[in-house]
């Protein structure tokens, strides 16, 4: 046990060195724009852009270096007076569609966007259709005691 602890203490030494060099944050205080309206727009745009080196995180939530670069890029362009769409389009042209957390509504993504509504419509049609065509055939006959149990269950 003692040996392990000494080893651990050595690690502590290295750890302190490391500790002052790593970032834990997403948006850093020095990134924030002075104009709250522009900043709000920046946050909105950032939430829809994927951090390319992370796992399912927007650049707004990520603390990776690349995400920080993208956040700064978004803010630079906002200050220059570009619209949200112009900025997003520019980033897509640079990094590809992969960077969008919400895929564009288009032919190749049609199924993705429409599967819910289509399923709901078809499901309703099927449900209504089978409601109209209720069959009246009976089941395999049950023993009397089973029938009684079912009646008991249906009662309460």
């Amino acid at each position: 046990m003692n040996k392990v602890l000494t080893g651990f203490q050595v690690l502590i030494f290295f750890a302190w060195i490391l500790m002052n060099s790593t970032s834990v944050f997403a948006v850093e205080p020095d990134e924030v724009l002075n104009d709250p309206k522009l900043e709000e727009r920046a946050r909105g745009i950032s939430k829809n852009l994927r951090c390319l080196v992370c796992r399912n995180e927007s650049i707004d939530d990520s603390n990776a270096e690349l995400a920080k670069d993208l956040r700064l890029l978004v803010r630079e362009r906002l200050v220059l007076g570009e619209s949200n769409k112009e900025i997003t389009d520019y980033i897509v042209s640079r990094y590809g569609e992969y960077v969008l957390l919400m895929p564009a509504f288009g032919w190749s993504n049609l199924l993705l966007w429409l599967c819910g509504p289509i399923m709901l419509v078809f499901g309703s049609i099927i449900a209504f259709w089978s409601f109209k065509n209720k069959t009246h055939t009976s089941n395999i006959p049950l023993s009397e005691k089973d029938e009684q149990r079912i009646k008991d269950i249906l009662k309460d």
Partner: protein
């Protein structure tokens, strides 16, 4: 030695599962009752052996036996005991062993308490259950053996991922697995019923508790995971639409549909085929969830390609279970017919709508989760589907569910009367709309989330109260209270589950719409305001704990000059795993959480600090717990207990 015994027990359990898969079925075919009767003891021994195997692995973790590869990779002698224990299932191999442990445990429960099931039906159920178990035993033994050993044991282990060293997450997987595996039980019942070609209210009465149990555990598991993300990941996000989260959310949605359709089947003997189909679907979704989590295919297609054995193995299991189940369904479902009818305005119709919406929303999550994979395989396009998509594509369906719910829940069976039902619901509707309007008028921003959420939550909670109250028909208050106390436990369960959903919806709407965020650099001795709260920064201290180092900031918090307390946000460094974690300091309250995170030290000696006011945050998880409590209350209902009154008599009749 103990490790080898555990390994041996696992192999024996695997063999028994194959025996159980085959022998009782032969018995049923040739009417050899001795073979059929083997099924109970086989299930019990399977559980016992798996239990021994799991115990052996846990023992290796507790005693830090570093001759076992899995322990080396996921544990460390300095780790607190709780995390040594939870380390058993905090990794791929161990979690799969936990999965089969629960699977065999449920089989054991049916073997022990299934006395009112017909013997050959029970044997069929246990055989199907064993078929699933044998697949997973094979999966563990051939692709992810937890008992692999090193010939020369290293001195210490690599430690468990520090993010996972947390009480909330230690017990998160067991709950989720109880949920996933609970759905395997309703799957087994469905397949056994298809084999026999008979589905009736007795069957539904058996399936409903399992669906309820699975749903309840999934609710708790998902809530725990979300709560963990909230306080551990450092910015108070509580749901990310991450593939791994979706993996547990899809079965939750479908099991919600299943337990409702099982109610319809039990009460009215209709929706038989649909309930069977849902049972197959629900389990398929839990298998798909396992596949997503275990193969790593969604997070990185590359990771899957380097070691495809596990992923391919689970794909084969999915193919067998879903494909086999659906094929059987296609052939046999025509045999199963319903005779009862109902009118378009009735509880039945409302529950069909509920089912439709739940299943469709589950498929939206499914398509969204797998779309990047489809797009890559079919169009060769790399794209992402993240939170913004799900927010838009999923939410409308759930809003629809919330709108329909109170009406459907209080409509009469068979033939309902909308006007009469609404008498009890008008107050809820009016209150909901007016509260929503007040919120809409009062808030300055244009976000619709808050007013809609407040309206829906009020409608759900007050609608549930109205429903319960309307069932206490009587002239005097005394009679009403007497009738109220006389209601079944499942009625209260229903009330709690439905109003719990309302509470959660309110929490989600509030935190999304009204959160306040503040990011700044602060020096020792300075203070700042967020909302009506004042934070005074006393400074930072460094210290070392058992297996990590910590930098701790100290803040004194006041609200309008009234002292709230001291908040101590931390950054931790785990040297063994070389990982950083943030420990946010959270001051919890009923109407708001104060959420404080300390970041990096600046060159000028200041510290970056993030502060959030998160209104009504706790309501999200409180609502979920309320739902789960409702589930438990329903399961405990006298009418759903496994051995009900007529058990003995009917057992005789079944064996004739």
């Amino acid at each position: 030695m103990i490790i080898e015994l555990g390994h041996l027990a696992l192999i024996l359990a695997f063999s028994l599962s194959i025996v159980q898969l085959i022998v009782p079925m032969i018995g049923i075919k040739y009417k050899w009752s001795n073979l059929i009767r083997l099924s109970g003891p086989l299930a019990s021994f399977q559980f016992l052996l798996t239990f021994i195997s799991f115990g052996a692995l846990m023992n290796a973790f507790i005693t830090s036996d570093f001759s076992v590869k899995l322990v080396v990779e996921n544990s460390h002698s300095l780790k607190p005991m709780l995390y040594k224990i939870s380390g058993t299932w905090g990794n791929h191999e161990g979690s799969m062993l936990l999965w089969v442990l629960i699977l065999t445990f449920f089989g054991f429960l049916v073997a022990c308490f299934g006395s009112n099931l017909r013997t050959d039906f029970k044997a069929r159920v246990l055989s199907v259950q064993s078929a699933i178990a044998s697949c997973f035993f094979a999966f563990i033994l051939f692709t992810s053996n937890p008992f692999e050993r090193y010939s020369i044991a290293p001195l210490n282990g690599h430690d468990l991922n520090p993010l996972l060293q947390d009480p909330g997450l230690a017990f998160h997987p067991p709950f989720l697995y109880m949920g996933y595996v609970g759905l395997s039980m309703s799957f087994s019942f469905a397949i056994a019923a298809l084999m026999e070609g008979r589905v009736d209210a007795i069957w539904a009465r058996w399936v409903r508790p399992w669906a309820l149990l699975a749903w309840t555990f999934l609710t708790i598991g998902i809530a725990m995971g979300s709560w963990w993300a909230y306080y551990e990941l450092g910015w108070g996000g509580w749901w990310f639409w991450d593939p791994v989260e979706n993996a547990s959310f899809m079965p939750w949605l479908v099991s919600g549909a299943l337990l409702h359709s099982a109610i319809v089947l039990e009460k009215r003997e209709i929706l038989k085929n649909w309930t069977i189909l849902l049972a197959i679907l629900a389990f398929s979704f839990s298998l798909i969830g396992t596949f997503i989590v275990r193969s790593g295919i969604i997070t990185s297609v590359h990771a899957f390609a380097t070691d495809p054995t596990r992923g391919v193995f689970i794909l084969i299991i999915i193919f067998l279970a879903t494909g086999g189940g659906l094929t059987l369904f296609a052939f046999r479902s025509k045999k199963i017919t319903s005779k009862n009818t109902f009118s378009l305005v009735s509880r039945e119709s409302a529950l069909i709508l509920n089912n439709l919406l739940l299943v469709v929303s589950a498929f939206v999550v499914f398509i969204g989760t797998l779309w990047p994979l489809f797009a890559d395989l079919i169009f060769g396009k790399k794209l992402s589907v993240g939170a913004p998509f799900f927010d838009i594509a999923f939410t409308p369906f759930f809003i629809a569910i919330a709108i329909v719910l109170p009406v459907g829940a209080s409509l009469a069976w068979k033939r309902g009367n909308l006007g009469r039902t609404m008498i009890a619901l008008w107050p809820a509707l009016i209150l909901g709309i007016s509260l929503g309007s007040i919120v809409w008028v009062m808030q300055t921003g244009g976000r619709m989330m808050a007013p809609v959420g407040v309206s829906l939550a009020t409608w759900l909670i007050c609608g549930s109260i109205g429903d319960v109250w309307s069932r206490t028909r009587g002239n005097t208050l005394r009679i009403k209270i007497k009738r109220l106390l006389g209601l079944h436990r499942s009625d209260f369960g229903k009330f709690m589950a439905h109003s719990g959903l309302g509470i959660t919806i309110f929490g989600i709407a509030a935190i999304t719409a009204w959160e306040i965020e503040d990011i700044r650099i602060i020096k020792t001795g300075e203070s700042f305001d967020v909302g009506s709260y004042n934070f005074f920064f006393k400074g930072v201290t460094n210290s070392s704990e058992k297996n990590y180092l910590v930098t701790r900031g100290e803040f004194i918090v006041k609200n309008n000059d009234k002292l709230i307390g001291t908040m101590l946000p931390e950054k931790r460094y785990y040297p063994i795993a070389r990982m950083w974690t943030t420990e946010a300091s959270i001051d919890q309250g009923i109407t708001r959480d104060l959420y404080l995170v300390i970041g990096e030290e600046q060159d000028d000696g200041g510290w970056s600090v993030r502060t959030y006011l998160k209104p009504f945050a706790n309501w999200i998880w409180f609502g979920a717990l309320f739902m789960a409590a409702g589930g438990i209350l329903s399961i405990s209902d006298r009418r759903l207990r496994f051995s009900v009154g007529t058990t003995r008599a009917s057992k005789v009749s079944f064996n004739e």
